[in-house]
Symmetry: C2
Subunit: 209 residues, 2 copies
Amino acid sequence: LKPGEAVFWESDTATHVFQVMGGCLRLYRILPDGRRAITGFAFCGELLGTSLEGSYLHTAEAVTPVRLRRLPGSRFHALVDACEHLRPQLFARMCAEMRAAQQHIVALGRLGAEERVVRFLLSTAWATGADRTRPITIKLPMSRLDIADYLGLTIETVCRTLTKLKHDRFIALDGRHTILLRRMADLRELACDIDTRHDDHSTAAVRSH
Amino acid sequence: LKPGEAVFWESDTATHVFQVMGGCLRLYRILPDGRRAITGFAFCGELLGTSLEGSYLHTAEAVTPVRLRRLPGSRFHALVDACEHLRPQLFARMCAEMRAAQQHIVALGRLGAEERVVRFLLSTAWATGADRTRPITIKLPMSRLDIADYLGLTIETVCRTLTKLKHDRFIALDGRHTILLRRMADLRELACDIDTRHDDHSTAAVRSH
DNA sequence: CGGGTGTTTGAAAGGCATCAAAAAGCGTGG
DNA sequence: CCACGCTTTTTGATGCCTTTCAAACACCCG
Protein backbone atom coordinates (compact mmCIF):
# COMPACT_ATOMS: atom_id res chain seq x y z
CA LEU A 1 0.00 0.00 0.00
CA LYS A 2 1.05 3.51 -0.72
CA PRO A 3 0.87 6.22 1.97
CA GLY A 4 -2.72 7.29 2.57
CA GLU A 5 -4.29 4.09 1.28
CA ALA A 6 -6.54 2.19 3.65
CA VAL A 7 -6.55 -1.49 4.48
CA PHE A 8 -10.12 -1.38 5.73
CA TRP A 9 -12.60 1.12 7.13
CA GLU A 10 -14.31 1.34 10.44
CA SER A 11 -17.70 0.39 9.04
CA ASP A 12 -16.44 -2.52 6.92
CA THR A 13 -17.53 -6.04 7.60
CA ALA A 14 -14.50 -7.75 9.13
CA THR A 15 -13.63 -10.48 6.67
CA HIS A 16 -9.85 -10.71 6.82
CA VAL A 17 -6.99 -10.67 9.28
CA PHE A 18 -3.82 -8.85 8.26
CA GLN A 19 -0.24 -8.95 9.36
CA VAL A 20 2.03 -5.99 8.82
CA MET A 21 5.21 -7.13 7.09
CA GLY A 22 6.73 -3.68 6.86
CA GLY A 23 5.88 0.01 7.22
CA CYS A 24 3.61 1.91 9.57
CA LEU A 25 -0.16 2.38 9.76
CA ARG A 26 -2.47 4.61 11.72
CA LEU A 27 -5.65 3.21 13.28
CA TYR A 28 -8.38 5.77 13.81
CA ARG A 29 -12.03 6.63 14.19
CA ILE A 30 -13.81 9.70 12.90
CA LEU A 31 -16.54 11.43 14.88
CA PRO A 32 -19.72 12.65 13.15
CA ASP A 33 -18.44 16.22 13.13
CA GLY A 34 -15.11 15.32 11.59
CA ARG A 35 -12.87 15.11 14.63
CA ARG A 36 -10.38 12.29 14.36
CA ALA A 37 -9.07 10.10 17.16
CA ILE A 38 -6.11 7.87 16.40
CA THR A 39 -6.34 4.86 18.68
CA GLY A 40 -2.94 3.49 17.78
CA PHE A 41 -0.20 2.87 15.25
CA ALA A 42 0.71 -0.52 13.80
CA PHE A 43 4.24 -1.58 12.89
CA CYS A 44 6.00 -4.56 11.40
CA GLY A 45 4.80 -7.86 12.81
CA GLU A 46 1.51 -6.66 14.23
CA LEU A 47 -1.87 -8.19 13.47
CA LEU A 48 -4.88 -6.18 12.30
CA GLY A 49 -8.52 -7.18 12.49
CA THR A 50 -8.20 -10.01 14.98
CA SER A 51 -10.38 -8.50 17.64
CA LEU A 52 -13.75 -8.59 16.02
CA GLU A 53 -16.44 -10.63 14.50
CA GLY A 54 -18.75 -8.18 12.82
CA SER A 55 -17.11 -5.00 11.64
CA TYR A 56 -13.65 -3.54 12.20
CA LEU A 57 -13.05 -1.38 15.25
CA HIS A 58 -11.29 1.37 13.30
CA THR A 59 -9.93 2.47 9.98
CA ALA A 60 -6.40 1.30 9.14
CA GLU A 61 -4.48 3.57 6.81
CA ALA A 62 -0.90 3.45 5.58
CA VAL A 63 1.42 6.16 6.90
CA THR A 64 4.47 4.92 5.02
CA PRO A 65 4.53 2.39 2.20
CA VAL A 66 3.21 -0.81 3.76
CA ARG A 67 3.50 -4.50 2.97
CA LEU A 68 0.79 -6.79 4.26
CA ARG A 69 -0.07 -10.44 4.55
CA ARG A 70 -3.76 -11.27 4.33
CA LEU A 71 -5.79 -14.21 5.59
CA PRO A 72 -9.56 -14.80 5.61
CA GLY A 73 -10.82 -14.33 9.15
CA SER A 74 -12.54 -17.71 9.21
CA ARG A 75 -9.34 -19.44 8.14
CA PHE A 76 -7.32 -17.50 10.68
CA HIS A 77 -9.55 -18.52 13.52
CA ALA A 78 -9.68 -22.09 12.31
CA LEU A 79 -5.91 -22.20 12.33
CA VAL A 80 -5.69 -20.70 15.78
CA ASP A 81 -8.32 -23.13 17.01
CA ALA A 82 -6.48 -26.09 15.59
CA CYS A 83 -2.93 -25.19 16.49
CA GLU A 84 -2.29 -25.93 20.14
CA HIS A 85 0.66 -23.56 20.42
CA LEU A 86 -0.82 -20.76 18.30
CA ARG A 87 -3.61 -20.02 20.74
CA PRO A 88 -1.50 -18.67 23.60
CA GLN A 89 0.34 -16.51 21.08
CA LEU A 90 -2.85 -14.81 19.93
CA PHE A 91 -3.95 -14.51 23.52
CA ALA A 92 -0.68 -12.84 24.46
CA ARG A 93 -1.02 -10.39 21.57
CA MET A 94 -4.52 -9.45 22.62
CA CYS A 95 -3.32 -8.94 26.18
CA ALA A 96 -0.54 -6.67 24.98
CA GLU A 97 -3.04 -4.69 22.94
CA MET A 98 -5.25 -4.37 25.99
CA ARG A 99 -2.35 -3.23 28.12
CA ALA A 100 -1.44 -0.60 25.54
CA ALA A 101 -5.03 0.61 25.42
CA GLN A 102 -5.18 1.01 29.19
CA GLN A 103 -1.88 2.84 29.20
CA HIS A 104 -3.34 5.14 26.57
CA ILE A 105 -6.47 5.72 28.62
CA VAL A 106 -4.42 6.76 31.62
CA ALA A 107 -2.38 9.15 29.48
CA LEU A 108 -5.42 10.79 27.86
CA GLY A 109 -7.33 11.00 31.09
CA ARG A 110 -4.75 12.19 33.56
CA LEU A 111 -1.56 13.46 31.91
CA GLY A 112 -0.71 16.96 30.70
CA ALA A 113 0.52 17.77 27.22
CA GLU A 114 4.21 17.48 28.00
CA GLU A 115 3.77 14.21 29.84
CA ARG A 116 1.83 12.77 26.93
CA VAL A 117 4.38 13.79 24.31
CA VAL A 118 7.34 12.50 26.29
CA ARG A 119 5.56 9.26 27.01
CA PHE A 120 4.88 8.86 23.32
CA LEU A 121 8.52 9.42 22.47
CA LEU A 122 9.70 6.97 25.08
CA SER A 123 7.22 4.26 24.15
CA THR A 124 8.24 4.64 20.53
CA ALA A 125 11.89 4.30 21.51
CA TRP A 126 11.20 1.23 23.61
CA ALA A 127 9.15 -0.37 20.87
CA THR A 128 12.44 -0.73 19.03
CA GLY A 129 13.79 -2.70 21.95
CA ALA A 130 16.51 -0.19 22.70
CA ASP A 131 18.45 0.23 25.90
CA ARG A 132 16.35 2.33 28.25
CA THR A 133 19.16 4.20 29.90
CA ARG A 134 21.18 5.27 26.88
CA PRO A 135 20.35 8.16 24.52
CA ILE A 136 18.75 6.99 21.29
CA THR A 137 17.72 8.38 17.92
CA ILE A 138 14.20 7.46 16.89
CA LYS A 139 12.25 7.75 13.65
CA LEU A 140 8.70 9.03 13.75
CA PRO A 141 7.16 8.10 10.41
CA MET A 142 3.84 9.78 11.17
CA SER A 143 3.04 13.50 10.86
CA ARG A 144 2.60 15.97 13.71
CA LEU A 145 -1.12 15.89 13.08
CA ASP A 146 -1.13 12.14 13.54
CA ILE A 147 0.72 12.50 16.81
CA ALA A 148 -1.70 15.19 17.96
CA ASP A 149 -4.75 13.08 17.12
CA TYR A 150 -3.16 10.16 18.91
CA LEU A 151 -2.40 12.14 22.06
CA GLY A 152 -5.68 14.04 22.19
CA LEU A 153 -3.95 17.37 21.54
CA THR A 154 -3.68 19.85 18.69
CA ILE A 155 -0.83 19.96 16.24
CA GLU A 156 0.28 23.31 17.66
CA THR A 157 0.52 21.97 21.18
CA VAL A 158 2.60 19.02 20.01
CA CYS A 159 4.97 21.39 18.19
CA ARG A 160 5.29 23.75 21.09
CA THR A 161 5.98 20.90 23.48
CA LEU A 162 8.67 19.48 21.22
CA THR A 163 10.38 22.87 20.87
CA LYS A 164 10.25 23.35 24.59
CA LEU A 165 11.87 19.94 25.11
CA LYS A 166 14.47 20.89 22.55
CA HIS A 167 15.29 24.17 24.30
CA ASP A 168 15.49 22.36 27.61
CA ARG A 169 18.04 19.98 26.02
CA PHE A 170 15.94 16.89 26.58
CA ILE A 171 15.76 16.12 22.89
CA ALA A 172 17.26 17.25 19.59
CA LEU A 173 15.30 17.48 16.35
CA ASP A 174 16.80 16.55 13.00
CA GLY A 175 14.38 17.06 10.15
CA ARG A 176 10.73 16.24 10.60
CA HIS A 177 10.87 12.61 11.45
CA THR A 178 14.04 12.11 13.43
CA ILE A 179 14.43 12.85 17.12
CA LEU A 180 17.34 12.26 19.42
CA LEU A 181 16.37 11.43 22.99
CA ARG A 182 19.02 12.40 25.50
CA ARG A 183 18.90 12.26 29.29
CA MET A 184 16.53 9.32 29.42
CA ALA A 185 16.23 9.37 33.19
CA ASP A 186 14.93 12.95 33.11
CA LEU A 187 12.55 12.12 30.29
CA ARG A 188 11.18 9.20 32.24
CA GLU A 189 10.58 11.57 35.11
CA LEU A 190 8.71 13.95 32.82
CA ALA A 191 6.60 11.14 31.40
CA CYS A 192 5.31 10.18 34.81
CA ASP A 193 6.30 6.68 33.93
CA ILE A 194 5.10 3.99 36.25
CA ASP A 195 6.09 0.98 34.20
CA THR A 196 9.73 1.27 35.08
CA ARG A 197 9.24 1.86 38.78
CA HIS A 198 8.94 -0.82 41.37
CA ASP A 199 7.55 1.07 44.31
CA ASP A 200 3.97 0.45 43.32
CA HIS A 201 3.19 -2.02 46.08
CA SER A 202 3.67 0.59 48.75
CA THR A 203 1.83 3.15 46.65
CA ALA A 204 -1.12 0.83 46.26
CA ALA A 205 -1.17 0.08 49.95
CA VAL A 206 -1.23 3.76 50.83
CA ARG A 207 -4.01 4.57 48.40
CA SER A 208 -6.02 1.44 49.10
CA HIS A 209 -7.91 3.40 51.69
CA LEU B 1 -16.55 -7.57 49.75
CA LYS B 2 -17.53 -4.42 51.49
CA PRO B 3 -17.31 -1.03 49.74
CA GLY B 4 -13.69 0.10 49.48
CA GLU B 5 -12.19 -3.36 49.73
CA ALA B 6 -9.96 -4.49 46.90
CA VAL B 7 -10.06 -7.76 45.00
CA PHE B 8 -6.47 -7.33 43.82
CA TRP B 9 -3.92 -4.59 43.22
CA GLU B 10 -2.25 -3.42 40.10
CA SER B 11 1.13 -4.81 41.08
CA ASP B 12 -0.17 -8.16 42.31
CA THR B 13 0.84 -11.36 40.62
CA ALA B 14 -2.20 -12.46 38.65
CA THR B 15 -3.14 -15.78 40.21
CA HIS B 16 -6.92 -15.90 39.99
CA VAL B 17 -9.78 -15.05 37.68
CA PHE B 18 -12.92 -13.57 39.21
CA GLN B 19 -16.50 -13.26 38.12
CA VAL B 20 -18.71 -10.56 39.55
CA MET B 21 -21.91 -12.12 40.86
CA GLY B 22 -23.36 -8.86 42.13
CA GLY B 23 -22.47 -5.26 42.89
CA CYS B 24 -20.14 -2.78 41.23
CA LEU B 25 -16.37 -2.35 41.18
CA ARG B 26 -14.01 0.32 39.97
CA LEU B 27 -10.86 -0.60 38.05
CA TYR B 28 -8.09 1.94 38.29
CA ARG B 29 -4.41 2.80 38.19
CA ILE B 30 -2.59 5.29 40.36
CA LEU B 31 0.18 7.51 38.99
CA PRO B 32 3.37 8.05 41.01
CA ASP B 33 2.15 11.47 42.15
CA GLY B 34 -1.21 10.21 43.34
CA ARG B 35 -3.43 10.99 40.38
CA ARG B 36 -5.97 8.27 39.79
CA ALA B 37 -7.31 7.08 36.44
CA ILE B 38 -10.32 4.78 36.50
CA THR B 39 -10.14 2.60 33.41
CA GLY B 40 -13.57 1.10 33.86
CA PHE B 41 -16.32 -0.21 36.09
CA ALA B 42 -17.30 -3.84 36.45
CA PHE B 43 -20.84 -5.08 36.99
CA CYS B 44 -22.66 -8.34 37.51
CA GLY B 45 -21.53 -11.08 35.16
CA GLU B 46 -18.21 -9.59 34.16
CA LEU B 47 -14.85 -11.33 34.44
CA LEU B 48 -11.81 -9.82 36.13
CA GLY B 49 -8.20 -10.79 35.66
CA THR B 50 -8.53 -12.73 32.43
CA SER B 51 -6.32 -10.51 30.33
CA LEU B 52 -2.94 -11.14 31.79
CA GLU B 53 -0.34 -13.62 32.68
CA GLY B 54 2.04 -11.82 35.01
CA SER B 55 0.45 -9.10 37.08
CA TYR B 56 -2.96 -7.49 36.99
CA LEU B 57 -3.54 -4.49 34.75
CA HIS B 58 -5.27 -2.45 37.42
CA THR B 59 -6.60 -2.39 40.94
CA ALA B 60 -10.13 -3.69 41.40
CA GLU B 61 -12.02 -2.19 44.30
CA ALA B 62 -15.60 -2.61 45.46
CA VAL B 63 -17.86 0.42 45.04
CA THR B 64 -20.94 -1.25 46.46
CA PRO B 65 -21.05 -4.53 48.39
CA VAL B 66 -19.79 -7.13 45.94
CA ARG B 67 -20.17 -10.88 45.58
CA LEU B 68 -17.49 -12.73 43.63
CA ARG B 69 -16.71 -16.13 42.25
CA ARG B 70 -13.04 -17.04 42.20
CA LEU B 71 -11.05 -19.50 40.11
CA PRO B 72 -7.30 -20.14 39.93
CA GLY B 73 -6.02 -18.65 36.68
CA SER B 74 -4.37 -21.89 35.61
CA ARG B 75 -7.59 -23.79 36.11
CA PHE B 76 -9.58 -21.13 34.28
CA HIS B 77 -7.33 -21.30 31.26
CA ALA B 78 -7.27 -25.06 31.32
CA LEU B 79 -11.06 -25.10 31.27
CA VAL B 80 -11.23 -22.62 28.42
CA ASP B 81 -8.64 -24.60 26.53
CA ALA B 82 -10.52 -27.82 26.99
CA CYS B 83 -14.05 -26.62 26.39
CA GLU B 84 -14.69 -26.17 22.71
CA HIS B 85 -17.61 -23.78 23.18
CA LEU B 86 -16.08 -21.80 26.04
CA ARG B 87 -13.26 -20.39 23.94
CA PRO B 88 -15.33 -18.21 21.62
CA GLN B 89 -17.15 -16.88 24.66
CA LEU B 90 -13.93 -15.69 26.28
CA PHE B 91 -12.80 -14.33 22.94
CA ALA B 92 -16.03 -12.38 22.55
CA ARG B 93 -15.67 -10.95 26.04
CA MET B 94 -12.15 -9.79 25.34
CA CYS B 95 -13.32 -8.20 22.10
CA ALA B 96 -16.08 -6.38 23.93
CA GLU B 97 -13.55 -5.15 26.49
CA MET B 98 -11.32 -3.94 23.69
CA ARG B 99 -14.20 -2.16 21.99
CA ALA B 100 -15.10 -0.43 25.25
CA ALA B 101 -11.49 0.64 25.73
CA GLN B 102 -11.32 2.14 22.25
CA GLN B 103 -14.59 3.94 22.80
CA HIS B 104 -13.13 5.31 26.00
CA ILE B 105 -9.97 6.44 24.22
CA VAL B 106 -11.99 8.39 21.68
CA ALA B 107 -14.00 10.04 24.44
CA LEU B 108 -10.96 11.06 26.49
CA GLY B 109 -9.03 12.22 23.48
CA ARG B 110 -11.57 14.16 21.50
CA LEU B 111 -14.74 14.92 23.46
CA GLY B 112 -15.54 17.89 25.68
CA ALA B 113 -16.76 17.63 29.25
CA GLU B 114 -20.47 17.67 28.43
CA GLU B 115 -20.08 15.10 25.68
CA ARG B 116 -18.18 12.79 28.02
CA VAL B 117 -20.71 13.03 30.83
CA VAL B 118 -23.70 12.47 28.57
CA ARG B 119 -21.98 9.57 26.87
CA PHE B 120 -21.31 8.05 30.28
CA LEU B 121 -24.95 8.41 31.29
CA LEU B 122 -26.19 6.88 28.05
CA SER B 123 -23.78 3.96 28.10
CA THR B 124 -24.79 3.26 31.68
CA ALA B 125 -28.44 3.34 30.69
CA TRP B 126 -27.86 1.02 27.75
CA ALA B 127 -25.85 -1.41 29.81
CA THR B 128 -29.15 -2.22 31.51
CA GLY B 129 -30.56 -3.16 28.14
CA ALA B 130 -33.22 -0.49 28.23
CA ASP B 131 -35.16 0.96 25.33
CA ARG B 132 -33.06 3.64 23.72
CA THR B 133 -35.83 5.98 22.73
CA ARG B 134 -37.78 6.12 25.96
CA PRO B 135 -36.82 8.12 29.07
CA ILE B 136 -35.23 5.99 31.75
CA THR B 137 -34.16 6.25 35.38
CA ILE B 138 -30.66 4.98 36.05
CA LYS B 139 -28.70 4.22 39.19
CA LEU B 140 -25.11 5.40 39.45
CA PRO B 141 -23.58 3.44 42.33
CA MET B 142 -20.23 5.22 42.10
CA SER B 143 -19.35 8.63 43.54
CA ARG B 144 -18.86 11.86 41.59
CA LEU B 145 -15.14 11.51 42.13
CA ASP B 146 -15.21 8.07 40.55
CA ILE B 147 -17.06 9.45 37.55
CA ALA B 148 -14.58 12.31 37.26
CA ASP B 149 -11.58 9.98 37.40
CA TYR B 150 -13.23 7.78 34.81
CA LEU B 151 -13.96 10.64 32.42
CA GLY B 152 -10.65 12.44 32.86
CA LEU B 153 -12.31 15.44 34.50
CA THR B 154 -12.52 16.94 37.96
CA ILE B 155 -15.35 16.35 40.35
CA GLU B 156 -16.39 19.99 40.03
CA THR B 157 -16.68 19.80 36.26
CA VAL B 158 -18.83 16.68 36.51
CA CYS B 159 -21.10 18.43 38.99
CA ARG B 160 -21.39 21.56 36.93
CA THR B 161 -22.14 19.59 33.80
CA LEU B 162 -24.87 17.60 35.53
CA THR B 163 -26.37 20.80 36.92
CA LYS B 164 -26.35 22.35 33.49
CA LEU B 165 -28.04 19.30 32.00
CA LYS B 166 -30.64 19.49 34.75
CA HIS B 167 -31.39 23.15 34.10
CA ASP B 168 -31.64 22.45 30.38
CA ARG B 169 -34.23 19.76 31.21
CA PHE B 170 -32.19 16.93 29.69
CA ILE B 171 -32.02 15.07 32.98
CA ALA B 172 -33.49 15.18 36.48
CA LEU B 173 -31.53 14.36 39.62
CA ASP B 174 -33.04 12.51 42.54
CA GLY B 175 -30.61 12.09 45.39
CA ARG B 176 -26.97 11.35 44.67
CA HIS B 177 -27.20 8.15 42.77
CA THR B 178 -30.38 8.33 40.76
CA ILE B 179 -30.77 10.17 37.48
CA LEU B 180 -33.70 10.38 35.13
CA LEU B 181 -32.75 10.65 31.48
CA ARG B 182 -35.38 12.41 29.38
CA ARG B 183 -35.26 13.41 25.72
CA MET B 184 -32.96 10.58 24.69
CA ALA B 185 -32.64 11.78 21.11
CA ASP B 186 -31.29 15.14 22.25
CA LEU B 187 -28.93 13.44 24.68
CA ARG B 188 -27.57 11.23 21.93
CA GLU B 189 -26.97 14.34 19.92
CA LEU B 190 -25.05 15.87 22.80
CA ALA B 191 -22.98 12.73 23.26
CA CYS B 192 -21.72 12.86 19.69
CA ASP B 193 -22.97 9.35 19.42
CA ILE B 194 -22.72 7.44 16.19
CA ASP B 195 -22.13 3.81 16.86
CA THR B 196 -23.13 3.14 20.42
CA ARG B 197 -26.14 1.32 19.06
CA HIS B 198 -24.02 -1.23 17.28
CA ASP B 199 -21.67 -1.47 20.24
CA ASP B 200 -24.13 -2.33 22.85
CA HIS B 201 -25.88 -5.07 20.97
CA SER B 202 -22.83 -7.26 21.14
CA THR B 203 -21.99 -6.14 24.66
CA ALA B 204 -25.46 -7.06 25.85
CA ALA B 205 -25.17 -10.40 24.12
CA VAL B 206 -21.91 -11.11 25.87
CA ARG B 207 -23.21 -9.98 29.23
CA SER B 208 -26.33 -12.08 29.04
CA HIS B 209 -24.10 -15.10 29.44
C1' DC C 1 -30.19 15.42 65.84
C1' DG C 2 -25.32 16.34 65.08
C1' DG C 3 -20.86 15.18 62.81
C1' DG C 4 -18.52 13.85 58.87
C1' DT C 5 -18.32 12.86 54.21
C1' DG C 6 -19.70 13.83 49.70
C1' DT C 7 -21.68 17.31 46.63
C1' DT C 8 -22.74 21.74 44.76
C1' DT C 9 -21.71 26.43 43.76
C1' DG C 10 -18.62 30.53 43.13
C1' DA C 11 -14.42 33.24 41.71
C1' DA C 12 -9.93 33.29 39.77
C1' DA C 13 -6.08 31.15 37.32
C1' DG C 14 -3.98 28.26 33.99
C1' DG C 15 -3.42 25.24 30.15
C1' DC C 16 -4.65 24.08 25.86
C1' DA C 17 -7.32 25.41 21.67
C1' DT C 18 -8.17 28.54 18.13
C1' DC C 19 -7.05 31.77 14.76
C1' DA C 20 -3.43 33.75 11.99
C1' DA C 21 0.86 34.06 9.68
C1' DA C 22 5.73 33.15 8.98
C1' DA C 23 9.23 29.56 8.24
C1' DA C 24 10.92 25.20 6.83
C1' DG C 25 10.67 20.89 4.11
C1' DC C 26 10.08 18.58 0.00
C1' DG C 27 9.04 17.30 -4.61
C1' DT C 28 8.88 19.13 -9.23
C1' DG C 29 10.49 21.20 -13.27
C1' DG C 30 13.41 24.37 -15.49
C1' DC D 1 21.71 22.28 -9.22
C1' DC D 2 18.70 25.79 -8.13
C1' DA D 3 14.14 28.08 -8.32
C1' DC D 4 9.37 27.51 -7.55
C1' DG D 5 5.06 26.23 -5.32
C1' DC D 6 2.85 23.42 -2.23
C1' DT D 7 2.40 21.11 2.09
C1' DT D 8 3.82 20.61 6.73
C1' DT D 9 5.63 22.64 10.67
C1' DT D 10 6.69 26.28 13.73
C1' DT D 11 5.76 30.50 16.09
C1' DG D 12 2.74 34.18 17.93
C1' DA D 13 -1.52 36.37 20.06
C1' DT D 14 -5.86 35.75 21.99
C1' DG D 15 -9.80 33.39 24.04
C1' DC D 16 -12.29 29.65 26.14
C1' DC D 17 -12.88 25.61 28.77
C1' DT D 18 -11.48 23.21 32.51
C1' DT D 19 -8.96 23.27 36.73
C1' DT D 20 -7.88 25.08 41.09
C1' DC D 21 -8.93 27.04 45.38
C1' DA D 22 -12.48 28.06 48.63
C1' DA D 23 -16.78 27.84 51.00
C1' DA D 24 -21.62 26.73 51.49
C1' DC D 25 -24.80 23.06 51.27
C1' DA D 26 -26.95 18.32 51.28
C1' DC D 27 -26.98 13.69 52.49
C1' DC D 28 -26.16 9.61 55.36
C1' DC D 29 -25.18 7.12 59.53
C1' DG D 30 -24.71 6.63 64.18
